[in-house]
């Protein structure tokens, strides 16, 4: 009657702002910690994976909160993103886990994540998003989606 249902309503817009705020704060905190570690000559992941993992942790928090709060900024397309990303994550995680378990690659060298280890963590983040998304769908289904709540 008043607006298209694909858009976010005012409460969701407010929540979306809060989610971005959380991700932004986490991102800045992690970058600051990383900068501090670099200043102390501490490398916790190989090559570009320090920055990549920081980015993925922030993205995981952001998309995870979106899934829990059911805020999908691009409407139904978000479902596809969660599923494709989750499947890719599961594949990446599984592949890296296989390499680590068979002894072809190490997860850690000293106190540093190897490339395989970092990709495993990245895959885990992606897989976690799919699990949160599916968990929320199952929760809604069990709760009885269209019924009134007290």
């Amino acid at each position: 009657m008043f607006k298209c249902r694909n858009e976010l309503d005012e409460r969701q817009l407010l929540q979306r702002g809060n989610v971005f705020q959380h991700a932004m704060i986490l991102f800045v905190v992690l970058l600051s910690i990383n900068a501090l570690l670099k200043e102390c000559d501490i490398t916790w992941a190989e090559g570009m994976y320090e920055d990549m993992l920081i980015m993925w942790v922030a993205i995981t928090l952001c998309l995870g909160e979106f899934a829990i709060l059911e805020i999908y900024p691009i409407g139904g397309g978000m479902n596809v993103i969660y599923i494709v990303e989750g499947v890719a994550g599961a594949f990446l995680f599984g592949m890296c886990l296989f390499e680590v378990l068979t002894g072809r690659e190490a997860f850690l060298t000293g106190h540093t994540l190897t490339r395989t280890g970092a990709e495993m963590v990245q895959g885990g983040c992606m897989l976690l998003l799919l699990l949160v998304f599916c968990g929320k769908k199952v929760y809604n289904h069990r709760k009885g989606g269209g019924e009134d709540e007290a």
Binding site: M1, F2, R5
Partner: protein, 73 residues
Amino acid sequence: MGKNLRLKAARANLGLTQQGLADMVGVTRQTIVAIEKGDYNPTVKLCIQICQVLGKTLDGLFWPEPEGGNDRV
């Protein structure tokens, strides 16, 4: 912020579900749930839309009741 029982009653009187009201005002059911529970304070624009759909006045649905009432927004 307490529960908004007047909104709930007005909706029930018209035989509307939370989803039905949400569809009519263009928000999600969760938003209507949050307003009825008192967890979310809607904007004046949304209050007016709800009042129009339910045929009530802003005072009737959203104005805080005098002391003793527990169904304020």
